[in-house]
Every structure is written in C-alpha cells, then in structure tokens.
Amino acid sequence: MLEAFNAVLNRDLRLAMRRRGDWVNPLVFFVIVISLFPLGVGPDTELLRQIAPGIIWVASLLATLLASETLFRADFDDGSLEQLVLSSQPLSVLVLAKVLAHWLITGLPLLFLSPLVAVVLQLQGRSIPALMASLLLGTLTLSLVAAIGAALTVGLRKGGVLLALLVLPLFIPVLIFGSSSVLAVEGGFPVQAHLSMLGALFLLSLALAPLAIAASLRIIYE
C-alpha cells in the first residue's frame, strides 16, 4: 500500500515538473490578486495592515481553487485516472497521494511566498510565523476539500465555475480560523486556539475527504 502511495506521489511530482503552467500560474495569480487590493482600497498603511490577513487568506483560497481544477483533468483525459480507479490498491490511499503531490507543488509555494506578501501588506514581522503556520495547516485542508469538488466535476465539460460554487462555501471555516489566527497575533493575543482549530479541521478532512474523493471518482466509471 505504501509502495503504491509512493509510486503515485513520485509519478505526479515528476509530471508536474514538466507541466510548469499548472503550478506556476496559480502562484502568479496569488501575487496579482494581492497586489490588486492596495490599488483598490488605497495605499493607507494602517488600513492595509488591518485587512491584510483577510486578503492573504482569500487570495490563498482562490489560488487553491484555481489550482485544484487541474488535479484530475490530465489523468482523466489520457485515461490513467481509470487505471487508478480500477487498480487493486485502495483508491482512497492513491487519491491521498495525488492530493499530497498536488499540495506540494501548488500549496507549499504559497507558504514560501507568504512572508513576501505579508511585508508588502504592512503586516508586523511577528505575525509572519503565525501566518505561515496557519497557511500550512489551512492549505492542506483546502487542497483536500477542493479535491472532492474536482473529483465531482472532472467528468463535466464545464466544470470550472461549478467547482467554485461547490467548494468555496466549504472553505469558509478555514478562512475564518486562518485569518483570525493572524489577527490574533497582530492584536497581541495567543494564537494556539486558532491553530489547534485549524489542526482539527485538517485531521477531520484528512480522515474523510479521501473517502469522498474515491467515491466521486468511482461514479465516473460506473
């Protein structure tokens, strides 16, 4: 089982290196969306600092959503998704490997970009560790949830907008706890409670999302 997990993970990582657009574009999107906000609300430092956690988190939500669209698309088109569904290994483990690979190439880079955008949006330096910790737990959860939506819509020709409609409401708890953990540090409050809620959300989605993803993929080939 572990071997199959590793095999899928390695294969997806290697393929992703070749399809650069799939993971570079959401990152560029993330940076562009964030730089739009100061242009929209004005360069007032105090205002930007107040809304920065919300902006960064909303931008992460949208970037994850955008990236998740390609999660199963190529495999569906070339038929390797069917191979995956028909394989003798437990499908939920295999899709977990796919989601992990996808997070490593689309979610993890957001983490490394976040200090940069935090500085641009005038966040205090001491908020940056909390921002990165919340993004680590939060984007993992988001990737898992978004993968359910991607699996439900992969067989549809016009899946893009529908995917957003299905998945964005489910992102709301992560948004709330993610941005509030940064706000807590900014306000000088302890951040543990917020991060442990994010951790709980991550564990819950880790336990349940692979089952939902596997069930959704099976529908396509019934």
Binding site: L152, I176, S180, A212, A215, I219
Partner: protein, 247 residues
C-alpha cells in the same frame, strides 16, 4: 421492519401511499396555517421590547427551521441512496432541494426585513443570517451539480456525495461563523432569537412551524409522485392507471 422498508421503497407502493395521505395532510396544513396566522397576527400580544415587528418571527423562524430540516432530509436520503441504491430516496432528495432553497431564501429575506427596524440596517453579519446565507450557497451548489450531469444516474450519485459532504460541514460552518461573530462584534447587538417568549406567542409559532412542515410534506409528496410517473412511464402499473384515467 425491513420488509416494511422494502415495500415502502417500491415506487408503486409509495405512489399509492402518498396519494392517500396527501389530501389529509393538505387539509391539516391549511387549518394550522390559518389558525396560526390568526393567532400570531391578531391574538398574540405585542412584544414590549420589539413592538409589533416581532410578528415577523411567525414566518421567519418556521422558514429557518425548514431550511435546516429539508437539508437534513436530503442528506439522510442521500445516505440511503448511496448505501442501498434506493431510487425512491434519490427522488425525494431531488424533489426537496428547490423547496429547501426557497425556505432558505425566505429565512434570509424575512430576517433582513426584521433587521432593518431592529438593527437599523438591512444586513447585519449576524451569525444566524450568515449561516443561512452559506446554507443557500450549499443548496445552489447541490442543484447546480445535479443539473450539470447529462447522465442522470451519475448526477444523482454525485449530488448525493455532495449532500453528505455538506452535512458534515454544516455544523463546522455554523460554529465557526458563531465564533467569528463573537470575535468581531460587540455583545450589545440584540440577538435575533426567541428567548423568554410568552406561551401565547409560542403556541402560534409552533402551529406555524408545524404548518410549514406539512406544507413541505404535501408538496414533496406531490413532486415525488410526478417524478415517479416520469421515471416509471413505461411500466405496466402506470400504463394501466393511465388507461383508467386514474393517475
């Protein structure tokens, strides 16, 4: 028990059962709504804090309750459909979704109409209204996903999975929104609640709530029967009843 379950699951039996009880439910529903309206609008005393505007709860609270109840029905039916592949459960879920969305819309609109005189604004990011808004998004997503599939069996399965994912998320969303609300708002805001409510105000509320529930059941039965007819159009029992002009 299981035999009874199986017999009910047969579309033909359910069609017949719904045919018999729907008129009775409809009469009961009309009586409850009429009496509840009269007692709520005329008999119930004026609230000393909110004045007459509190009477909006007689449509708002039943709508809000129904919006949750219908989603639970959809989730429950989806689970049954996925586990036992019972067609009836899928039909009930499909018939319920638009009504659940309508009740959610009503809860939002009447909540906003209550909020204008009470809060002084049409929209307050109050925990309950916000959760209701998110619930509306979930309903819209559910119906959109089902509608997007050309193969209706695949669409039904996909929608059922989404309903279950949604029902796991609803309590999480609800509590996170409530928590977010207490984090960002001063506690002085009047809560849109039915706290120490007098019995003369409570009875009409319960009558309206029951009336709304029956209203949903009557329409759900009717829609389920229509969908059964369309799916079973080529079976002999539908053909026979069509010949007797007794559909």
């Amino acid at each position: 028990m299981f035999q009874w379950f199986h017999r009910l699951a047969s579309l033909k039996n359910f069609y017949r059962l719904a045919e018999i009880i729907t008129p009775w439910l409809a009469v009961l529903c009309a009586i409850l709504l009429a009496v509840g309206l009269y007692r709520g609008l005329v008999v119930a005393p004026t609230d000393y804090e909110q004045g007459e505007s509190y009477r909006i709860i007689y449509v708002h609270v039943p709508s809000a309750w129904m919006s949750m109840f219908v989603y639970m029905v959809i989730a429950f039916c989806s689970a049954i459909y996925l586990v036992w592949n019972m067609k009836l459960a899928d039909i009930v879920a499909q018939a319920s979704a638009p009504m659940g969305a309508a009740f959610t819309f009503l809860a939002l609109a009447t909540g906003s109409l209550w909020g204008k005189p009470m809060w002084g604004t049409w929209w307050e990011w109050d925990a309950r209204l916000t959760s209701e808004l998110i619930l509306l998004f979930l309903y819209i997503g559910y119906m959109a996903l089902r509608g997007a599939f050309e193969n209706s069996a695949a669409g039904a399965k996909a929608a059922a999975i989404l309903a279950l994912v949604g029902v796991v998320n609803i309590p999480i969303i609800h509590y996170s929104v409530e928590w977010w609300n207490t984090l960002h708002q001063p506690a002085s805001i009047t809560k849109f609640d039915t706290p120490s409510i007098h019995i003369s105000m409570l009875i009409p509320l319960l009558m309206m709530a029951l009336g709304f529930k029956l209203f949903y059941l009557v329409n759900m039965f009717s829609r389920t029967r229509s969908m059964i007819l369309e799916r079973e159009a080529s079976t002999s029992w539908v053909r026979n009843r069509a010949q007797e002009n007794n559909l």
